[in-house]
Amino acid sequence: MIPAIVLLAPLLGGVLAWISGRAGRLWVRIWPLALLVLDFAALLAVWIGGNPDAFHEGAYSFYADLIVPWIPQIGVSVHLVLDGLSLVLSLLAVFIGIVVILVSWKRERDHEGFFYFNITLVLSGVLGTFLAVDLFLFFLFWELMLVPTYFLIVGWGGERRAPAGFKFFLFTQLSGLVMLLAILALYFIHGGSSGVYTFDLFGLIGTPMSSRTSFLLMLGFMAAFAVKLPAVPFHSWLPDAYVEAPLEATILLAALLSKSAAYGILRFVLPLFHDAALAFAPVAYVLGVLSVVYGAVLAFAQTDLKRLIAYSSVSHLGFVLVGIFALSPLALQGSVLQMVSHGVATGALFVVAGFMERRLGHRDLSRMGGLFPLVPRLAGAGVALALVALGVPGSGNFIAEVLIVIGTFQASPLFAVLVSSGLVFSVVYALWMIQRAFHGRAAVSGSLRDLSALEAAGALVMILVVFWLGLHPQPVFDATSRFLQTLQGGA
């Protein structure tokens, strides 16, 4: 039952928020927050007290395993599992959810009930992708994230929200359909060869097929994941979507939705198409390196703070892509750590960017400068997080990138060299951002309000989490290693 509770708790909060939409602005926030906190507590309890080997399915073991038939006519069931990897990422999702609700606590807007309903629906969708092991169900959640995110963008976004939302929707939906084709093909191939028509991941692993078929199917999956990650050149939806979305949705997009893609590669692509993935690795490396470099160069070229962070995100996720396909234990662990750490850090960076926008009324870097003495707490948080983006020692990004580079080196020295160039480029844009926004001569006259104690505490907690991940990443490694070890089976 635990996976179902984890999955549905945010949704329940959202529904309650929607219902209580007219009752006042307080309950609209309290319901989702309370349920998310409960959710978080439940996940923590599982992490601390749960038995990671309680359930087995082939080589895999889980804390919890739930199967309920859903559309038995075609072999679809609600199959949710909670293992270390999904646990860690679910914790991330719920944590970010809590952050999002807190960030918007004081923000007045229209139709708040529906707004929070959409937020929680996104969270449930993300959690669903982290928990589902039925391919149909996974696809459903995958697509499900889209609609509320789209509503958030077009309902509460910036000036050019409609085209931005559309672009986001189009890219993800279209690539999702390609994945659906691949899922169906796999379904039929498996059904044809074994007589059992099922969408269950563990049933489908090891389906015999020619290497060419396997490669094509893997491409179908990768289409969806490369778009959502996103890898250059499938990224062009991202900057607009991140910029035009309301802050809360941007945080969700950057911190969580991109992770679902990386997770999808880990959970589905590698187990289902191990050899094809190995064959695909060079292409993935190229895409990853392209993302790393292109994202960093473009981040440097931006003057819009949110856009800059958006591109930096592209760059960081390039590391993840390379790390995953390096398929060496170190790189895989590094990638997972990078996912978590980037989730928290980029989320926090967007939070800070949002705080800045609220105070300045704009987010144009060329009109900022010298904020450090004016708003030391805000600027301090901003500087710290920008440093995390460039991989400041002790942060989660630092150790993750070190592991990815080392792990990739074992698989392909050439691409390790290329991907590590991102470490230099990240310095360029991160410092540029620090210096344009916080250093230099003061470009703002008059006084600005610094972070309130609560805001500062929130930012501090997120920063501390990032550094905790950097200085003591072992719990994350321990939680995820069970699953990651199964991935190297053939290697």
């Binding site: 672009k167 890219f171 250059v232 050149p233 990224h235 062009s236 939806w237 900057p239 292109y294 160069v297 473009l298 440097f300 070229a301 931006q302 060496s328 234990p329 170190l330 662990q333 010298g370 450090f372 003495p373 301090g380 440093l387 991989g391 400041v392 020692p393 002790g394 630092f398 150790i399 070190v402 592991l403 580079v405 080392i406 990739t408 080196f409 074992q410 020295p413 390790a416 060299v417 590590s420 160039s421 470490l423 230099v424 310095v427 360029v428 410092l431 540029w432 210096q435 916080f438 250093h439 230099g440 001569r441 003061a442 200085l471 003591h472 990443p473 072992q474 490694f477 290693s481 070890q485």
Partner: protein, 631 residues
């Protein structure tokens, strides 16, 4: 006393945390006590640990302490663990003691700055990171410290962040050193993929057992690590950041860009000396890099007019000497020079800081002059520092350390004499020329600016102590032909592979020493002739175009900045500008507009005429029937 080892980096770290979170509300005095005190306590702890290290050496020659696990994976694990041996202890002593003196100096120097607390926060963090760097028992932790010091260096160079050009200098420093760092990270990656460990001792053991000397892997690995070292230590070809780094407050230049951080590369190579022994070619390269850098930086130093830039180039040059020492296998000599250099260069910078402050933030030595009488304490200490830098024979520490390195160079195989000739003769000549040029121009002649802001006790005491160390520090290791004192060698020598060649060389060694000493004195004389007495001679030269051209070339640091600007910076900017329009995104948009265009074109057929629609049906029918019948 070994139990307190972990306190040594922890104290400055605690100081940093206190300052960064609470410093803004602290009174200056409290912030100063926290900032200076934390390093002072660390220095005290280092002394205590050092004393017990000397009195009762630990088993295996090193104190090992593992604090807590960091990363533990089946294929690789490393922890927050320290290993303190003689080499580390030397570094620690310099970092904490010189660091403490500089902190003390800063408490007065920076006292009028609005973000006093922040300065000490960064400085404390720097000391902590630097200690982690030298104390780490594994390369991952070393890399953590390595990155940490780079970060602090960035913040301190750009400490006066309201000036955009300082920010640019800071950024340049960070980016250039980051390039080296990435190379080093790749080196680590190679080591991990070969030996699956980052524990330094274990790594060196496995490398010695697993790698044949001179084979490809050790060459590549040491080359990559060398990349890191030249970045951090401002050696060719990544030396360009250091002169600009002088934008930071002078104590920063003294601590980070002279005494400690820039020698991290030296430490790295010394620490991994066993690895370099497996790649003789790379080790020779280290020597060549050192030699080239020391000459190049020496030449550039002669043409500078900014007092701090002169010192910066001199730092680059002196680290070149250390690299030369490392390259010829005289690790102890390199470390000895490191220590002595830390003393006199910190001294020079601190003295220069006083001078600049007293001259109202004037950096150009040609606008100064005659400060000998106005600032006597500074003059004398600066003179001691400059003498030590110029390696004036017998009385200065610099003489002993440099001679040791040059003796090593002489003995380094076939190219040895050449190394000695260029490094020893030319280098020594250049060094004494530029150092005494600074002395004569700054302190002699007519006073052009009235002095202001005279230094107080907290600035003078460090000067005096460092001056004393710059003289006395040399006497713990004296060439055997002069006096048989070898305290330093016997303390630290055990850490390194045995130096090739003879420790003593009889008459040859004496001859070489005489030549080098003579050259250093000639350099002083030349400086006197050119810049003091024969001012006319210098100005007569200055009239010729050729001289001006050469001077400009030297002044610019031999054109490296120009080349890099065009080769990298402009390229990157260009790429950013080109890509900013999102070529890729445009392609996606183009697909969208193509669809819209098709829609428009098809829409033109929807004319609203019934007959037209019937034509559509009829044509469709004819096409279908035609296809059916004909195919």
């Amino acid at each position: 006393m070994y139990a307190i080892v972990w306190l040594i980096p922890a104290l400055p770290l605690a100081g940093f945390l206190l300052l960064v979170f609470l410093g803004r509300r602290m009174p200056r005095a409290v912030a100063a006590v926290v900032g200076v005190g934390s390093v002072g306590l660390a220095a005290l702890a280092t002394v205590l640990v050092g004393a017990s290290f000397l009195s009762a050496p630990p088993a295996g020659g090193a104190i090992e302490e593992r604090l807590f696990g960091w990363v533990s994976l089946p294929s690789l694990s490393f922890a927050f663990g320290f290993r303190v041996d003689a080499l580390t202890l030397t570094m620690m002593a310099v970092i904490t003691i010189v660091g403490f003196l500089i902190h003390l100096y800063s408490s007065e120097f920076m006292s009028r700055d609005g973000e006093f607390w922040l300065f000490f926060a960064y400085m404390n963090l720097f000391v902590s990171s630097m200690l982690v760097l030298v104390m780490a028992d594994n390369l991952a932790l070393l890399y953590l410290g390595w990155e940490g010091v780079g970060l602090c260096s960035y913040f301190l160079i750009g400490f006066w962040y309201r000036e955009p050009e300082y920010c640019v200098a800071a950024r340049k420093a960070f980016i250039v050193t980051r390039i080296g760092d990435v190379s080093m990270l790749l080196g680590l990656a190679l080591l991990v993929s070969s030996f699956a460990t980052l524990d330094i001792q274990e790594l060196l053991r496995r490398a010695a057992a697993g790698w044949a000397p001179g084979s490809a892997l050790p060459v590549v690995a040491t080359l990559l690590l060398l990349g890191g070292a030249v970045g951090k230590s401002a050696q060719l070809p990544l030396q360009v950041w250091l002169p600009d780094a002088m934008a930071g407050p002078t104590p920063v230049s003294a601590l980070i860009h002279a005494a400690t951080m820039v020698t991290a590369g030296v430490y790295l190579i010394a620490r991994l000396s066993a690895l370099y022994a497996l790649a003789p070619a790379v080790q020779s390269l280290v020597a060549i890099v050192g030699l080239a850098t020391l000459l190049l930086a020496g030449l550039a130093a002669i043409a500078q007019v900014d007092l701090k830039r002169i010192l910066a180039y001199s730092t680059i040059s002196q680290i070149g000497y250390m690299f030369l020492g490392l390259g010829v296998g005289f690790y102890s000599a390199a470390m000895f020079h490191f220590m002595v250099h830390a003393f006199f260069k910190a001294l020079l910078f601190l003295a220069a800081g006083v001078v600049i402050m007293a001259q109202g933030e004037e950096h150009n030595i040609f606008r100064m002059g005659g400060l000998r009488t106005a600032l006597p304490a500074v003059f004398w200490t600066f003179l001691i520092g400059a003498s030590s830098l110029a390696a004036l024979p017998l009385v200065t520490a610099g003489f002993y350390s440099k001679e040791w390195i040059l003796w090593g160079a002489w003995q380094a195989g076939r190219g040895g004499p050449l190394l000695w000739l260029l490094g020893g003769c030319l280098g020594v000549l250049l060094t004494s020329l530029y150092s005494f040029r600074a002395v004569f121009v700054t302190f002699f002649g007519d006073q052009k600016i009235r002095e202001s802001h005279l230094p107080g006790a907290r600035m003078k005491i460090p000067l005096v102590i460092l001056a004393a160390l710059s003289i006395l520090g040399g006497f713990i290791q004296i060439p055997s032909d002069i006096a048989p004192v070898s305290l330093f060698e016997s303390f630290i020598g055990g850490v390194f592979p045995k130096a090739p060649g003879a420790a003593e060389g009889g008459s040859t060694q004496i001859l070489l020493q005489v030549v080098a000493s003579a050259l250093s004195l000639i350099g002083v004389l030349a400086a006197y002739v050119l810049y003091r007495r024969g001012v006319g001679a210098h100005e007569r030269l200055a009239d010729s175009d050729a001289y001006r051209g050469v001077r400009r070339f030297l002044f610019s640091g031999l054109g490296f900045d120009w080349v890099y600007k065009w080769a990298f910076v402009k390229t990157f900017d260009c790429a950013a500008k080109l890509l900013k329009g999102e070529v890729v995104g445009r392609a996606a948009d183009a697909i969208g507009s193509a669809n819209a265009a098709i829609g428009r074109a098809l829409g033109a057929l929807q004319s609203g005429r019934i007959r037209w629609y019937l034509v559509g049906i009829a044509l469709g029918a004819v096409a279908a029937v035609g296809a059916a019948v004909w195919l």
